[in-house]
Symmetry: D2
Subunit: 396 residues, 4 copies
Amino acid sequence: MAPIKDSVHDYISLDPLAEALVDTPAFQRLRHIKQLSTVRLVYPSANHTRFEHSLGVYHLADRALTHLEIEDDRCEHVRAAALLHDIGHGPYGHQTEDLIYRHTGRDHDEITDLLKPDRPRPSDERTVGEVLETHGIDRDRVAALVRGEGELGQVVSGELDVDRMDYLVRDAHHSGVPYGTIDHGRLLRALGFVNGELVLEAGNVQTAESLLLARALMNGTVYRHHVSRIAGAMLERACEQLVDDDAGPSIEHFRRLSDHDLLVALREHVPALGRRIERRRLYKRAVWIGIESVPAGIMAFDRSEERDAERAIAEQAGVPETEVIVDIPPRPQIKESATRVVVDGVVQRLEDASELVGALRAAERAQWRLGVYAPEASVDSVREAAIDQFGLAVTK
Amino acid sequence: MAPIKDSVHDYISLDPLAEALVDTPAFQRLRHIKQLSTVRLVYPSANHTRFEHSLGVYHLADRALTHLEIEDDRCEHVRAAALLHDIGHGPYGHQTEDLIYRHTGRDHDEITDLLKPDRPRPSDERTVGEVLETHGIDRDRVAALVRGEGELGQVVSGELDVDRMDYLVRDAHHSGVPYGTIDHGRLLRALGFVNGELVLEAGNVQTAESLLLARALMNGTVYRHHVSRIAGAMLERACEQLVDDDAGPSIEHFRRLSDHDLLVALREHVPALGRRIERRRLYKRAVWIGIESVPAGIMAFDRSEERDAERAIAEQAGVPETEVIVDIPPRPQIKESATRVVVDGVVQRLEDASELVGALRAAERAQWRLGVYAPEASVDSVREAAIDQFGLAVTK
Amino acid sequence: MAPIKDSVHDYISLDPLAEALVDTPAFQRLRHIKQLSTVRLVYPSANHTRFEHSLGVYHLADRALTHLEIEDDRCEHVRAAALLHDIGHGPYGHQTEDLIYRHTGRDHDEITDLLKPDRPRPSDERTVGEVLETHGIDRDRVAALVRGEGELGQVVSGELDVDRMDYLVRDAHHSGVPYGTIDHGRLLRALGFVNGELVLEAGNVQTAESLLLARALMNGTVYRHHVSRIAGAMLERACEQLVDDDAGPSIEHFRRLSDHDLLVALREHVPALGRRIERRRLYKRAVWIGIESVPAGIMAFDRSEERDAERAIAEQAGVPETEVIVDIPPRPQIKESATRVVVDGVVQRLEDASELVGALRAAERAQWRLGVYAPEASVDSVREAAIDQFGLAVTK
Amino acid sequence: MAPIKDSVHDYISLDPLAEALVDTPAFQRLRHIKQLSTVRLVYPSANHTRFEHSLGVYHLADRALTHLEIEDDRCEHVRAAALLHDIGHGPYGHQTEDLIYRHTGRDHDEITDLLKPDRPRPSDERTVGEVLETHGIDRDRVAALVRGEGELGQVVSGELDVDRMDYLVRDAHHSGVPYGTIDHGRLLRALGFVNGELVLEAGNVQTAESLLLARALMNGTVYRHHVSRIAGAMLERACEQLVDDDAGPSIEHFRRLSDHDLLVALREHVPALGRRIERRRLYKRAVWIGIESVPAGIMAFDRSEERDAERAIAEQAGVPETEVIVDIPPRPQIKESATRVVVDGVVQRLEDASELVGALRAAERAQWRLGVYAPEASVDSVREAAIDQFGLAVTK
């Protein structure tokens, strides 16, 4: 097969196993899952998909294996895992992750069931499981790599994984926001193993920091832009209604939808929110407050408590329940702080080797916001009700 | 409103009229129409849409007006026309253009009816026509500009229009194929009017040639890649069935669908082809021959004669009619050959000023191919039947 | 005049004053002063010069004035200052700055004497001062702007100046190191004045941080790369010898040399070091220690004390004095920490608004190194002597 | 050694032989030879050198060998030849090529004498010849490869060589002119051998054309820009005077100078022209006419006849001889027309497979210009004299 032209890595050559995997329905479906879900409502050119991202991750995994000088049958398994690492995503990726988890107990990186050879498929197609079997690949090893298990699992999913090396650069290229343009060539060359731990070799504290900083800047500017968050919360709420609708898809059906299937399903079953999302007529911020203003009990809300709060606020504000969305992100975390770097011959966690980690943690905390969203017309009444219900000291 | 970040032009600032137009359903729909329809099946990162392309064309129109030193109320009209120039496209853009034309007699650049203020819309949205009216814009002038009429219509739609200046660069950026990276800064600076004709000022024969060459190289590599052509022909055929299906959408409904609506509609009403397109299980080339091998009568086929040929070939090959697609592109043309360039003080057509035009014409002719496509399993029988039906001298 | 094509800003259009200034000998000389002096010995494609950088700064100053909505005669002065801000640099820019200052008491941003109309020049050329006079420009105002004085002086030289917006992106483009790729479009749009202070408007703490982070990453990776520092220290030492040489150029002559004049002069007057620099046969690190290991007295050394130390180390090590170079950088500073940002309606210094500033300060401190360099053959003996002379606790 | 960061190819890893070659004086000298000589007077950011270009050619040669699946000891020879292919260039590269050839009979790609191990060098450096010997490399084979001899010589120097693949992209990156941005990844993957001839494999006529077109567009816009040609002609004339000057360098010394040595030598020995070049006070075009207006006899002039004409024109115009420069470029040629491409299983020359070649030939011919240059003040009198002396029918 001819190599594939990619906007980020130029040409990507596939091994025969990868070629066959790419042709499966489960992988082709990724053409229809956008990498950045609702971010495109803020950055209109960010329409890239998990399909080309997965090809990019495959490509970087292959390069990482070369630099790590690994040459045995682990290579095929790692490359397959890199290629398949996102097939467990539901429509709109991370946006539906919580909902699916609440209903099924499965995270997007738990793909064991998707690798079974006998999944339903048209007679002239092959499932991922069948392809793996034909090529003598152990599907449990692949699933474990996707979960980040084992030495090489860290390359696929961990603080230094090729996943983020690809998505930062790709998101920068397609959104036009330059902050994600990291030096992945340097990162790949600095990878090594010390006692089974994936590390950056000596002299690379700053290389590690650059990855961290790129993600922090992209977080604030792109990934957590408030417009994208509002649209995402609306989508999540609409999906809850869709899944609860008896005429709607089952959760198992739901999690295999593509983005476009979901948009059409929403328009049919949840028309008000569906059309708003499709046409970008978004709710506005009624409340938008920092972590220090939020009572501890509220920080700990699970989704059902959020729903209760939405109902109570709606009732008090005199608006339909669907016109109040409470959006409480998890406490900020910096996964990359655990990146291991060799300093003076000793493996250290990045948070111990770099002053920046603590500062970024504080910065993330300072950027954190609880949001309550409502249609423009009811923003004022919803704000008042929310302040009351949450016992907020916010006056503005 | 904050300026919009764009992957190609960095920041795009909108005037108040443009802001209001962007918020209409007709414009938001462009988020869901891909710029390059089926090309993404070959170049997986080419997922950009007519939404950001239209913003880019708006931006370049504004810059062109500055360089042309136009400052009166024509500016607002030209910018509005640039922004709206693609709202007449059906789903999958050019791919459904012929079909819509055969049923309605309307081309995609005929947007008069879409500018009527009283088009159906939800109560809380405004139509394009209403927005234009509010801002005192003459919608007939806008529609005329989109058709390329008048002096400034040439800036919106003509051999030197800002449409192609945007799409060449944008398609290059998102596909990763560099050939389209023209120097639009230079082109814009070279624009001028001589006797009401838009020209490139003296010293710019090569600037004009570069535009021509970029398009020729993108044609061969991207726009007319055979895989994209096959997928496009399958899509077109599937759409014909969809529109002919009594349970399917009316043509008026059809032309306002988004890409994702179409994919879902096809899966429901034309499931075999629909799924093939969605999953990229494409037909293969049974026949692929150059212009010199095609009898003149066949070159002149209209779509209904193509359909007859498909039926006859299918019957002879013993396969269902839907498994044969005949794809006869129009004779190659080079619209840019009419570009006017000032040479030695005289306005000349580029084809008279440049030897390259003739050569590109010959090259386009040499690249032209008639295709007959069929599922892999029936390629051989379809080839034989097609050779016979068309009376081709092809033996291979 | 046709606009100038630039690798970073595409096209740069000059006003008539700027055109005339570009044609002066003082400005043309900048073609022969590399932007990054010895960095090219590490990043071979970093050969860009202060000529195109100055054009870029002019261009960004012009855009800043537009966004700040300034339209009176200050514009011409600011643009002229932006264009001329680097004409005071000696050969190899910052590398000869200290030496020139020690001899003349003048910093590179003190250009008053260079703006005098009657400077020596061939009869068919005009000086910068003459050009300014012809165009009715007040040269004292220009010199003050270059020193960063006054409201608009902050745009030319300050924490938020267009100088660094240009050089970060340009250095990234030409070196290939992506970290400097800031979003200058966003920075320019966020500029404003509050009570005569240049600030970033509300919502831009992260925009300010991004500038800071870009510079921090470029510092570590590019600007202070140890190979560049060694070459720079060798160059500085060689220049001291050159200026001290009675047959060499006077300091006034020296500070107007170009890079190539300097290389040739060094080869003639300081042949050993000169040839080493030209052919990249660099000294190696005999000592390379962090700030916590350096006795406070040594941190405070001025250049003549450094020279004394070099002599003492050389004597003890039994090598010629020119084979020991002591390189003690100033204490790390983060000028950008004073950037003013509007937060909740109040102007704050970035260091008060962002946790990152403190962390970067700590990171800069952690990266700081005192170096002692010597030819490879004498590294060991020099190391021993230096440890002894400086009373270091270093054993390795 | 760490890989080298490059602005075009990201990271370039060197084999041990290449590392040692890079450290030789002959190779380090390339840091001081600009790739585009006088082009930087038009495109100010085009300051890249033959040093990084040579590294890039080495890198592409290595990739070409991989795609061609060559694995024996030819690889080291080819990579060495790629690295060293430009060490034979005099100062300012092609600009001094004719002059050196007239005096020595040696072209820049004739590097045999530079590979002799016993060339003069400081005691602590090694010559290229010594390095080759140490690594067991046959220096005659390397020299032959640089001359383009043998099967693999075509990869180093031929119609499809990696030299032009690097310089087109590099010149585009550093000048900012996009036309040279070819798809070298695709070209490298398409290389193959048929009967000992380097060819592009089937399906690549357009790939070949894209290379040709990129060079044609760069020729007109960059390489042969009239300002660069004037500066180049002035430089060449100044070098003639320098070499003829008894106090100046011998031709053998001259050809080993760096760009900066030459600038300083010119200022000393040919001060008028030297200063003009350094400060960009260039002659203007007194005559600038197309090929159809030039008498055949004049087209055939060698340099001494050009000199005679300059003298005669100067005398008639009453100006010093050095104020007239006659610049007659060779007849236009398109070397790439001989590129071999596989079409329908047969190896064809590109000029037979593509209509574009003929058109480009005509376009090159149409762009060809004879120039006569003089200082602005004497342009008119020189024009008149030149028209008279050359018997031109030019009246304007």
